[in-house]
Symmetry: C2
Subunit: 279 residues, 2 copies
């Protein structure tokens, strides 16, 4: 399980790196970014995984969110994987919300997607092993967050794997893909019309099944143009209420769906995860 270093650059006293490896999950090369604070040279540190939204790679979050400052302050390694398999042989669609850049962090069961679109396996099984073998990570203290489609990924993968991801937050997540156009399109293609499998990839359905023993932080821009069509935070609020899950949903007045929104609140999320992972 060797990885190739594409770049390493000093940032806020630490190292912002980009790496590539051959993924057994997706059957493709995969790239991911890792920020290591300076103190990672001395001891293993907690990890926060950030899952990005539609059309993104590791690059959007890594260059635009300004997370490195807070990761350096709080002593947290931040990992940003890609949003889908990529490469010449990988099935794709011209739409921005299907195919490359739109993996939805699930294991596809339908052709032509099933062969490479196995992002759930990638994030839950393979990426942690790659991190453990190559970086000073303390995987017993790993949290997860994400934006939009990546917020969906963070919520679903954590709720299904609470032993792996100890802390959970999200920015403007798709909380019920089974009930919004983005998610229905993706699920119809990736999972087919067997609706029973949809619930295994829908955060609001999953939290009603499994609950969540910790607390959850969600920031949502109140001026987000996708709020009422795709994101539907109230669906998740009600599901958490029914299961007595401690959800804090912060509606942020005037903020939209962009990285300016993420940048404005990433400090809070990193501090929030660090406090819990280091408790």
């Amino acid at each position: 399980m060797t990885i190739e270093t594409l770049s390493e650059q000093k940032c806020f006293g630490g190292i912002q790196g980009v790496y590539r490896h051959q993924s057994s999950s997706t059957g493709t090369d995969m790239e991911f970014a890792v920020f290591q604070p300076a103190e990672a040279a001395k001891k293993p540190l907690p990890v926060l995984v950030f899952l990005s939204g539609l059309t993104c790679t590791w690059e959007n979050f890594t260059t635009k969110a300004g997370a490195q400052r807070y990761a350096a302050e709080h002593g947290v390694i931040v990992v940003a994987p890609d949003t889908s398999p990529r490469g010449e042989g990988v099935a794709d669609d011209q739409a921005y919300d299907l195919g490359k850049g739109a993996g939805f962090y699930l294991n596809a069961t339908e052709d032509p997607w099933a062969k490479h679109y196995r992002m759930e396996d990638y994030v839950v099984k393979e990426l942690p092993a790659v991190l453990a073998n190559n970086f000073p990570v303390d995987l017993d203290r790993m949290g997860i967050t994400g934006h939009s489609m990546g917020g969906h990924g963070a919520l679903t993968l954590a709720i299904k794997n609470p032993d792996l991801f100890k802390t959970l937050s999200a920015f403007a997540p798709i909380v019920s893909p089974a009930n919004c156009p983005w998610g229905q399109k993706a699920f119809n293609n990736y999972l087919g019309d067997n609706i029973a499998t949809w619930g295994q990839n829908d955060a609001s359905a999953l939290v009603e099944t499994f609950g969540w023993s910790g607390d959850i932080l969600i920031d949502q821009g109140a001026s987000d143009t996708f709020l009422e069509t795709e994101l539907l935070p109230d669906v998740f609020v009600r599901a958490c209420e029914r299961k007595s899950v401690a959800l804090t949903l912060r509606m942020q007045e005037g903020y939209d769906h962009s990285y300016y929104f993420i940048a404005s609140f990433i400090e809070d999320h990193i501090a929030w995860h660090a406090k819990r992972l280091k408790a």
Copy 2:
């Protein structure tokens, strides 16, 4: 002098906007970005102009430097103009270091550049007037900074216009374009072989002529690949010493020429300008 709003997005409690207007200096449309902290709604604020480097537009700094947080904290309006005129009728070159994206913040005298490449007039004369007419700026408290080619622009334009730009700093600036390949190529094209005009656009020559009554802060990555060929900070250090100009050059170990370097130190620069502009 009307301007068109291309976007306005909430960020760190303020507004990150992008605007377009017809420029009389360049004879083209010009775009620029402005971050207004929340308190700009109540009173005029000091201004910091950031000039970007080769290949950039307003977007690189605005999305990657993380300046909004510090501008909000210190109550400073931050303005990021483009690096050259653009448009179909504008002379260009296939190289990244000449033509569009490489205006060098001077007034070109040679064809085919002289018609549109008047970035010195644009930044010194037109942009301040546009700001005064459209934003709550206190132009009596305006500072300037920039990166690489934009550091050259900040140094030259401030030294020539100390009544306009009261404070001055730079990131990895080209301090003596007359003596490095980037600058020589640009000056040969834009200014021709009349070397007498080169000194009017060379920070190290200018500071020996005009001096600088305040102090100057420069951050320079010690691992910057352009350090010894293009940037040559020692030339400016010696010129400042000869004129007893209070220059602080901080060589930042391990940092390169990228926005990860700028992001790591932009807080220091904004705090530095704010302290002096508000004194």
